[in-house]
Homo-oligomer: 427 residues x 2
C-alpha cells in the first residue's frame, strides 16, 4: 500500500484502445491497495499536429499563444482518461496544471517549475479518486498557461510526486526499464534493477531516451524515487534513486549511451590568436546554438582548426553564425559532417577506477573504430565516431566493461538512421 504517481507518455495514450490499456494499469495499482495519481501526455502526434496548424498561419507564433494552443493536447487526454476510469466504475477527476498547483515562471515554451501546491489533488486522493493530471503544463504568476518544454510531462510527474510525498514516481513508456545500453544496438545489454541519479543524468544527457535529464535532475534535487517501467508489461522496471539507497557494489561502468542526433562543424585555418574561440562560441550561444563538444588542433603555420558538435536542429543557426564569422576569424573555410555519432560510457564508479579511458580506447582500437573527438567528465567519457561505426563502438565497449548479459538473445539490429528516428523522444 503506497502513494504512487504514474505517468504515461503520448504513445501510451495515442488511441482509445491505448487509453483503456492505461486504465487497466491504473485500476490494477488501485486494486492492489495503492493511492494513485496519473499524469498524461497528449495523445500520440497531437502536439505536432497543433504545431503544424499554427505554422499554416505564422512562422513566428507568439510563445504565449503557442503554449495555450499546445496545452489543449494534454487537456484532451486527461479528460478522456478520467472518463474511461469513471466508465469502469472508479471515481476519477482530471486536473489541469494550474489545478494541480504546478506554478512556473513566465518563460513560455520552456517554463521552469517554481512551486508545487497540489492541494486539490491531495484532497481528491484522500476522497478515493484517481486524479488525472495534464502533464507538460503549468501556470505563471499572471495566470497564463505555460508549457515546460521537452520532457515536460516527466518533470510534471516528478514535481507532483514530490508535492504529494509519493512513495514512487512510476514513468511508463514502451521500454521496460534502463538498460546498460540500447538493446537494439547492443543485443547483450541487460536491464538494471536500480541506477543512481548521477549515472542516470549522464546517460540521459548522453542520448539515452528513456528518461528526460530534466526530470532526473528534479528527482535528484528532491529525492524522488523514479520507477522507469513498461506500459505493456507488469514486470518491475528500473528504480532511479540516490546512491546510498542502492545496496549493491558499484560497477566501474553503469552503462553505454549513444546519440546520433548531433552534427560536427569544423572551421579550417582559423587565425591562432587569443580570443578567437571566445568570439566564435559567444556568437553561437547568442544565436541559441547548443554547442556540445569542442576541439582545437593547432597546425604548424600558426593557424588552427576549430571543431564543435551541436544538435542537428541547431545547424541552420550554426551555419548562419559560422558564415558570418569566417572572415572575422580569418578562417579558410568550414565544413559540416552530419554522419557522426557520440558514444558515452557512464558510471560513478569511474571516479575510483583509474584506467577506464585507456581500457575504452584499447577496445575501440582493437575493433578499428576511429575516434574523432573526446570529452570527459568525472563520471563519463564520450567519443565521437563515424555514424556507421556507432553500433560497433557501443557493443565493443559494452563487452570490454563486462556489461554483457549471459543470455544471448538475438534482436534485429537497426541502422543508425532508424535509431536516430526512434531515439527522438517526445514529452
Amino acid at each position: 500500500m503506497a502513494l504512487v504517481v504514474a505517468k504515461f507518455g503520448g504513445s501510451s495514450v495515442a488511441s482509445p484502445e491505448r487509453i483503456r490499456l492505461v486504465a487497466n494499469k491504473l485500476i490494477a495499482l488501485k486494486n492492489a491497495g495503492n493511492d494513485v495519481v496519473a499524469v498524461v501526455s497528449a495523445m500520440g502526434k497531437t502536439t505536432d499536429e497543433l504545431i503544424s496548424l499554427s505554422e499554416t498561419l505564422t512562422k513566428n507564433p507568439p510563445a504565449r499563444e503557442m503554449d495555450r494552443l499546445m496545452s489543449t493536447g494534454e487537456q484532451v487526454s486527461m479528460s478522456l482518461m478520467a472518463m474511461e476510469l469513471e466508465e469502469r466504475g472508479y471515481r476519477s477527476m482530471s486536473f489541469t496544471g494550474e489545478q494541480a498547483g504546478l506554478y512556473t515562471d513566465s518563460r513560455h515554451l520552456s517554463a521552469k517549475i517554481t512551486d508545487i501546491k497540489p492541494v486539490r489533488l491531495m484532497e481528491a486522493v484522500l476522497q478515493g479518486f484517481i486524479p488525472v493530471v495534464a502533464g507538460f503544463q503549468g501556470i505563471d504568476p499572471k495566470g497564463d498557461i505555460t508549457t515546460l518544454g521537452r520532457g515536460g510531462s516527466d518533470a510534471t510527474a516528478v514535481a507532483i510526486a514530490y508535492g504529494i510525498h509519493a512513495d514512487e514516481c512510476a514513468i511508463y513508456s514502451d521500454v521496460d526499464g534502463i538498460y546498460t545500453a540500447d538493446p537494439r544496438v547492443a543485443p547483450r545489454a541487460h536491464k538494471l534493477d536500480a541506477i543512481n541519479y548521477d549515472d542516470m543524468l549522464e546517460l540521459s544527457s548522453s542520448g539515452a531516451g528513456v528518461l528526460q535529464a530534466r526530470a532526473v535532475e528534479f528527482a535528484r534535487k528532491y529525492n524522488v524515487v523514479i520507477h522507469a517501467r513498461s506500459t505493456f508489461s507488469d514486470d518491475p522496471g528500473t528504480l532511479v534513486e540516490g546512491a546510498d539507497a542502492i545496496m549493491m557494489e558499484q560497477a566501474e561502468v553503469t552503462g553505454i549511451a549513444h546519440d546520433a542526433s548531433e552534427v560536427k562543424v569544423t572551421l579550417r585555418g582559423v587565425s591562432d590568436k587569443t580570443g578567437v574561440a571566445a568570439k566564435l562560441f559567444s556568437a553561437l550561444a547568442g544565436n541559441n546554438v547548443n554547442v556540445d563538444m569542442i576541439i582545437q588542433n593547432v597546425s604548424t603555420d600558426g593557424r588552427a582548426d576549430i571543431t564543435f558538435t551541436c544538435p542537428k536542429a541547431d545547424l541552420p543557426a550554426a551555419r548562419e553564425v559560422v558564415e558570418n564569422m569566417l572572415q572575422k576569424v580569418s578562417a579558410h573555410d568550414y565544413f559540416v559532417d552530419e554522419s557522426i555519432a557520440k558514444v558515452s560510457i557512464v558510471g560513478t564508479g569511474m571516479k575510483s577506477s583509474p584506467g577506464v579511458a585507456a581500457k575504452a580506447f584499447k577496445a575501440l582500437a582493437d575493433n578499428n573504430v576511429n575516434i574523432q573527438m573526446i570529452s570527459t567528465s568525472p563520471i563519463r567519457l564520450s567519443v565521437v565516431v563515424s555514424k556507421d561505426q556507432m553500433a560497433l563502438a557501443v557493443r565493443c565497449l559494452h563487452t570490454a566493461f563486462g556489461l554483457d548479459s549471459d543470455s544471448d538473445y538475438e534482436e534485429k539490429m537497426l541502422s543508425a538512421e532508424e535509431l536516430a528516428a526512434k531515439s527522438k523522444k517526445g514529452r
Copy 2:
C-alpha cells in the same frame, strides 16, 4: 470610434484560410478607429469530433470531464486567431473564459453565467491589444471549467459586451442579418434593419437559427445592442435592440419562423379523468423531455386523445415515458408523427392588432394548408402543419401579412429535410 465585441462562429473559423478572413474583419474594425474584442467558437466540426472521441470510451461521460474536453476546441481557435493577428502586425492576446472573467454556476454542460469581471480584457483593450476570447466556456466557484451549452458563444459575446460596456455586440455568421422569413423558404423575404428584443426572442425560440434565444434574452436583460451581420460581406446587418430605440412604426407582424425539428406524439383513448394529463406531463418533464405544444381532444365516449410535440432528439425519452404510462392512463395506444413542422408568426405589433389569427387561418385555408395544432402567446401564433406544406405555409403567411419585398429575386428552394439539416445551429 466605438468599443465593439465581434463574435465569430465555428464555420467562420473552420480553417486557416477562414481565420485569415476573420482577421481581415477585425483589422478593418481596428483600423476604422474602434477598440475590438473578438469572441470565437471552436473550428468547424471540432466539438463534434471531441464528442465522438469520448463516445468511443463511454456513453455516459461525467459532465465535468466533457466540459474540460470540449473547451479545448475554443482554446485552439483563440490561440490561432491571436497568432494570425500578431503575424499581421497587430498586438493580440487570447483569453480563456476564466481569464475573461466569465463566472458561472457549476451546472456542467449548460452552466449559467453568474458574473462577468473582464478586468484583464479591459486592460488589454486599453493597451491597444485585440483580445481574443474563447466562447462557450467559463469557470465555476471551484475553479473548474464549465461550458454554456447550445448558443454558448453568443452568450459569451453578449456577456462580455455588457461587462466592458461595449457600444455594440456584433455577431457574425454566414447570413447577413435577420430576415422576415428564411429566404431559402420564402424568396421574397427581406432583411430587417432593426428588430426589438421581444420579437427576436420569439423568432429564435420558434426556429429562426441566426441568433440563439439565450443570447437574445441576456441582451434584453442587460440592454446590449446585438448587430447580426455577415462574415463574408461588409454590408450592415440587423440591429437587435430595445423597442424604444427603433424609430419606425411597428408592423403588425415582424417575421415568420419555421421549425422542422420537432415530432408529434399522440396518445389515443386516454381515460378522461382529472390528473391524467398532469401525470403524463410531469413524467415527461422528469425524463427531460422538452414538451412544446399540447392539445387534448375530448371524444364522445369519455375518452380523450392527448397530442404533444417535442424535439426529435427527445423522442427516445418520450417513448420511454409514454410506453410506461399507456396502462396507467388506460390509453388505447399511441403513435408518432415525425413529418410535422411548426410555422410561427411573430410581432409585438400583434398585441394592438386584433384579427391576426383570423387573417392567418384564412391565408392558410385559401392555400389548402391543413392546421394540426395551434398555440399562441401575446406576440406569437404558431401552427403545426405537415412537413411538406411547411414552405407553402411560410410563403402564404409572409404574403398575407405584407412582408414580401418588391424585388423578386429567385433562389433555390430547399426541401424540408435540407432545411432541417441547415437550421441546426451550433454554438
